[in-house]
Amino acid sequence: MSAGRKHRLIKTVLAAGALALAAGGAQAQNKNAKLVVGWAEPIDTLDPVTTGARNQGPLLANIFDALVWLTPDFKVEPLLATKWTISEDGKTYTFTLREDVKFHDGTPFDAESVVANIKYITDKNTQAKVALSLLGPCKTATATAKYTVEFKCETPYAPLLAQLGVPYLGMQSPKALAEYGKDIGLHPTGTGPFAFVSYQPNQSLVLKRNEAYAWNPASVGHKGPPNIAEITFQIVPNAQARVNQFQSGQSQMMQQTPGVYWNTFQKMDRFTAIPVPITGLGIFAPVNASKFPTNDLAVRKAIQYAVDKKGVIQLAEAGAFPPSLTPLQPSMIGYDKSLEDMYPFDPAKAEATLKDGGWTKKDGFWEKDGKRLSLNITAISTSTSYPLLAQAIQGYLQKVGMEANITQLATPAWLASNINGDMSLTPLQYVGIDPDALSNWFTPGQYFNWSHFNDPKLTGLFQDGQRERDPDKRLKIYHEIQKIIMDQAVMLPLRQNIDLVMTSKKLTGVTYIGGGYEYLGAASLAD
């Protein structure tokens, strides 16, 4: 310990007396530390309810607290709710709330606040996105006492408890909701460890320590207000610029580190690498089952055999990620290890599958009834990684004589092509914490049914999965669901979804909410 710091500590102790002795005496933390984070994506809105972006989650996680805390391995812990009970029929959830919590604007938190939040989320004028789907069929909340709130579900909905811990269901101040209306996204007011200071679109978001914070989740290992006084999230979408900023010390933390730098920086002892697993379906490509030629099961299976996932990751992202081999990500409930070996990389088998399916090779390319096997791979043009993944996939498909063209599209055009079913396959990500996330992709009528696949048996299984309360039975249902998805080859799993976070060695205590939402409430930054 340097003399200067010791001096400062003594002064603090003298000035603030016994209180400071209790807080500062444990370790010499820099209570004035200002943290700069290189953030990879622009912010659409700071309203947890109306945002649709996965990358918003970590920002929200630091401003808002949810009713429960979800540990990285999906254990549900008390946060704003201290305890809960679930009724026999699985349709009623009753939460007992903490009584000492205040929002950043001073409004006390109670059962009525929760009710106001749920009303806001379910209001037709709100245009809620992720938050609404996380509630599932449980769209009504009533305050049965000042600090007791009851959620009612139309049908039994097992995923609710864990999903209430996701930052998109963070509690907002009812006063702020009423006061700011449509502009709530510019005035985020939660109960979290950090409070909103300012936001410059496409530049930065500044948060400051919530001095009153005393309701920390138990497992993060920190009590009271955060050690860090101020966080600036600087929005730097250009990966190279983000790396330069971090490397030169202008930021002490960066997310979405490009694969090549991830490998290089890990060898340096100045930095700490924190891979944050983002659960859900990983990075994958839905395969369009309604359009030629991928409406042919043989073609879909051949694609699975033809693409070397490890090779794709090596080419597109410097091998920084493990491959994804099943519909659900490892560490999730319902992950089925037995599916991992279903489609090994085997070009010869890909060709044999096509031959068995009635395809013939002519001039190096496959064709059937005079029509050439030609795939249309689309990718969001503004993304750094999807066009690269598309190119790598295309390379492997061409090697077995499957013609593949790439079309890079701006997001609106890309969405339209997915909904209309113009593409054969397209790399993307989908985030979720419950295996039920799959139902959004493979049930007819769902927005994300971009593989345009309809199997009544699968649809029935999804309904069973939502209703089943017995964890073991539920697990079996999702194993069966994934088996069908892989048998039908309507999605091509590519790589695991991981936020590659790099921090300076001086920054410690960075953790995350289950599902992959970085949380800085327990972090400290040394001088």
Binding site: N238, T264, L315, A316, S381, P387
Partner: protein
């Protein structure tokens, strides 16, 4: 160019036909023009390199090689390899071919459409000319790259659509120039003479007026060729031009931007090629302007 005017009388009235000795002198003078000859030499070298790509390298510009990613320049891979292990020398040459062909198509397309519109508007004037020119003004009011982005959004990404999009930026520029020049020329005595001799409008426009506005069009074509090349690469850079894995200079630059600190060669070589190409075209453009029409300095 100007000596292709057919009825000798009309041409001589305007004093545009040049005897053979004067033409030879013009060529000699042009070659003495240092920037013009330097630009020409550079241009010919680059274009030759790009178009003889299949003979200069045996590498397939799209062949991925997982074991040879980010190989530095030298050895088998003259300019190194990119993130996909593709040979950069092959990619730059084949990419340059695409870029050069596309930019030439852009200016030729833009020049033809713009010139025809300008000739029609300038010669006929009246309501027709007025409506054409207001439409041109409308197009001119758009910032160039925004217009190109709008067109690619409507037509979808791809090289052909990119060429159309950027040609759309050039059309109003050519149309403006040609319309002005045509309006000036159409009242000259030799046009009146042709009209009196009973020539049709089409004949007058293409045989008498066009040759006299051509020098301006040629200068403008060379001036804008470099800019067209930059715009084509810009579209490629943002992913709306040539679709991968086909190489194109802008797309290669984009591939390189994420690795610039680790693999500078992916960015530097295509960047160098593009810069040299644009410089050569600009040198030629400047030289031609000096030689063909000193009054066009304002362009």
């Amino acid at each position: 160019m100007s000596d292709i005017t057919s009825p000798a009388t009309a041409a001589e009235i305007a004093g545009t036909a040049r005897p053979a000795w004067s033409r030879r002198k013009a060529v000699l003078r042009a070659l003495r023009h240092r920037s013009l000859s330097l630009g020409l030499v550079l241009f010919i070298l680059l274009v030759l390199a790009a178009f003889s790509a299949p003979w200069l390298t045996s590498f397939d510009p799209t062949a991925q090689e997982p074991m040879a990613t980010f190989t530095p320049p030298g050895g088998v891979h003259l300019m190194g390899t990119d993130a996909f292990g593709r040979d950069l020398f092959a990619r730059v040459l084949f990419g340059a071919r695409t870029t050069i062909l596309a930019s030439i198509s852009v200016v030729v397309l833009g020049a033809i459409v713009g010139t025809v519109l300008g000739l029609v508007a300038g010669y006929f004037g009246g309501t027709l000319g007025f409506s054409i020119m207001r439409l041109i003004d409308l197009l001119l009011a758009f910032p160039g790259i925004l217009l190109a982005l709008t067109v690619t959004t409507i037509l979808g990404p791809g090289l052909t659509n990119g060429v159309i999009a950027i040609a759309a930026i050039l059309v109003p520029i050519f149309a403006r120039l040609v319309e002005g020049a045509t309006a000036e020329v159409r009242n000259l005595p030799y046009v009146e003479a042709a009209t009196a001799a009973g020539a049709s409008s089409a004949r007058i426009i293409f045989k008498h007026i066009l040759p006299n506005v051509m020098s301006g069009v040629i200068v403008l074509t060379t001036t804008w060729l470099g800019i067209a090349a930059l715009w084509i690469t810009a579209l490629g850079f943002i992913g709306l031009g040539v679709q991968p894995p086909r190489p194109e200079l802008g797309a290669i630059l984009n591939d390189g931007q994420n690795y610039i600190m680790l693999a500078w060669w992916i960015t530097v070589f295509p960047g160098l090629f593009l810069s040299l190409f644009v410089i050569s075209v600009n040198l030629i453009g400047d030289g031609l302007r000096d030689e063909l029409d000193p009054t066009l300095n304002r362009l």
